[in-house]
Amino acid sequence: MSEKVYAFRCTTCGAVSYPKHMICPKCRGEAFEPVEVAGEGAVLTYTDVYALAVDYETRYLRLAIVELDGGMRVTGQLLDEHPRVGKRVRTTVGVVREPADKPIYGLQFVPA
């Protein structure tokens, strides 16, 4: 059970990838070290989705793509009553999905 989310820094060129690739998309390097995904950024886009997958009891989910300071982008759940494109948020980690067997932790965004 991981309560941290990791991106992957290429030890050859330093480029950070999220998700993981086994060959660096920048330099073709094959060695990486995990770096925690955490910090602040801005909402690039968001949606309230009512067409949900299994494992959710809620009526809708608010999802967003956030561009973190430094340029890396991440997808996650937006916990903000007043969402807006460009709004500053910071990452937290919480339960993002609860299949019957075990909860899954992932990125959530709250107003910065």
Binding site: Y18, P19, L44, T45, A51, L63, V74, T75, G76, V85
Partner: protein
């Protein structure tokens, strides 16, 4: 490479299947085989496009099952699973078999029976194509990826909800003229956007997208018979040439794309298809685009090269993409109204275009159609197959 022709095309009506999975595939296949009228010429290979039978219908190896149902032994057979691009991928596999000399006649059948399960399960089955570690776990579904894309694209290019509604209205109108379409229901701007009732008629699915921006969940099958020039000549088929196929991939996670509004795989696949065909976007008379969501028809028509970035919604406003316009898009009704049985869709696009080029499209016939283009959009744009067809004069 040997030239490859489409000598037969057929499909079932999309919607809810009255047959089991393999019978559904066989029904479309028979229609295509009858259309081709091969006589004693054997089918050398069968390629089946399908995304979810293993999960949704609990049946695997359906290409072998289809050969058996049609008594086509000892034809070679394989299934192609390539997400929502399975259909055009299967056509590509059939094309390669003939072009390379390995086969003279190939039956390509796309089939999907998604209504065997409830809506939640069907949505989840399609969502399983998203990135498992950085998308799916958050509750990402295809509508949500489309919603995220739409908000960004609309803001950047000044596209409004009324432009999306114009796409839906056009495609529903076209579907009224297509007996094979899932949905036969005309819609109006008042009904889905501007009247007080529109809020009820057209609820949000993934903001800013609403119900009438999204394709239905459909069962259905579509099939084409591909053949060499020799076979086409022997059976006297109209010369519908597979002039060029292009395919390209992009990052699995949408957020990782340098510009998430740039449908790069559509751009690259289309450019490759046009180059192989020796044609330009301006040569195309009719197009079938992958409008699983209305916004995608707009974005794909730009990425394919029919309109400059930010111009497609203005062309739609001017009526240029209607049946009688400069470039009719989705005369079949598109995924929006014809329906979207995922594995069948890419084949059904080719079926519609083959009919259009043969002048057999009935009330939705595009006048003097000589060149056609299809975009089959897999994943959320991470695997795209573009196909260009051309009618050869004899």
């Amino acid at each position: 490479m040997r030239p490859v022709y489409i000598v037969g095309a057929g499909m079932t009506r999309f919607g809810r299947s009255e047959w089991p999975l393999v019978d559904l595939a066989a029904t479309a296949s028979l229609a295509a085989l009858h259309h081709a009228n091969l006589g004693k010429i054997p089918v050398d290979a069968v390629v089946v496009a399908n995304m979810g039978a293993g999960r949704v219908n609990r049946q695997t190896a359906i290409a072998s099952a289809l050969v058996d149902r049609l008594s086509l032994w000892p034809a070679a057979a394989e299934s192609v699973e390539n997400g929502p691009a399975s259909g055009a991928s299967a056509v590509k596999v059939g094309y390669q078999a003939i072009a390379s000399g390995m086969a003279d006649v190939v039956l390509v059948t796309g089939v999907e029976m998604m209504r065997a399960v409830d809506g939640l399960e069907a949505t989840d089955f399609v969502a399983s194509l998203s990135h498992p570690e950085v998308e799916y776990i958050y509750g990402v579904t295809l509508p949500s990826l489309a919603g995220l894309f739409a908000r960004l694209f609309m803001e950047r290019h000044g596209v409004e909800r009324r432009h999306l509604a114009l796409v839906a209205i056009k495609n529903h109108d076209n579907a009224m003229k297509n007996p094979y379409a899932h949905i036969h229901q005309p819609v109006t701007m008042e009904g889905i956007l501007t009247s007080p009732e529109a809020v009820v008629n057209n609820p949000p699915i993934a903001e800013p997208l609403h119900m009438f921006d999204c394709c239905p969940v459909s069962d259905g099958a579509a099939a084409v018979v591909l053949a060499t020039q020799e076979v086409a000549a022997k059976i006297g088929a109209p010369r519908v040439l597979v002039a060029g196929i292009g395919q390209a991939t992009d990052t699995h996670a949408v957020h990782e794309r340098q510009d998430p509004t740039d449908l790069k795989a559509v751009r690259l696949a289309s450019a490759a298809a046009f180059e192989r065909a020796g044609l330009k976007p301006s040569d195309i008379d009719v197009a079938e685009l992958h409008d699983a969501f209305t916004i995608l028809e707009i974005a794909e028509s730009e990425a394919a090269g029919f309109f400059k970035p930010g111009q497609a919604h203005k062309a739609i406003e001017r009526g240029e993409t209607q049946l009688t316009g400069k470039l009719p898009i989705n005369p079949s009704g598109g995924l929006k109204a014809k329906g979207h049985p995922v594995g069948a869709t890419g084949v059904a696009q080719i079926v519609e275009l083959a009919w259009q080029l043969r002048g057999e499209a009935g009330g939705r016939q595009v006048a003097k159609a000589k060149a056609a283009y299809a975009c089959n959009f897999g994943g959320f744009g991470n695997n795209v197959v573009a196909t260009v067809l051309r009618k050869e004069e004899r």
